[in-house]
Point group: C2
Chain length 77, copies 2
């Protein structure tokens, strides 16, 4: 019983994905709302995602990576 239940979360190390997403978003010049709209989710979702300690679905991750002109492995790997 790894996590006992619930979505698979980040391994040991920290959850740096959120910070990477935030930096990439700012680099692209998008507001949280703009990114949210671009990937089709609520602003809350983006906020939570950047806050870390959050495991989005692969599909959301793929969309975000796309909107940020990056790759899933680069942001969450």
């Amino acid at each position: 019983m790894p996590g006992t239940s619930g979505p698979v979360r980040p391994d040991a190390a920290a959850d740096l994905a959120g910070e990477r997403v935030r930096q990439r978003r700012k680099a692209i010049g998008l507001s949280q709302q703009a990114l949210a709209t671009a990937v089709g989710v609520s602003r809350q979702t983006i906020i939570t995602m950047e806050q870390g300690n959050y495991a989005p679905s692969v599909y959301l991750a793929l969309r975000v990576a796309g909107a940020l002109e990056s790759e899933v492995e680069a942001l969450w790997g």
Copy 2:
């Protein structure tokens, strides 16, 4: 209200990811149980994943991609 709620799922087209995972797993020569153990989840999770219509967390996707010597974008993109 895109999906109204719940994890972001695949867009329009079919959910071919499951089939890709299955083919890659067999190509590598792993049983569902072996893959499950390798990525640290239950066999049920692998079964459901190959069945399609399922949106794993990015982290699980990354582990599966790793175990199958592939990439997230290649399997779920």
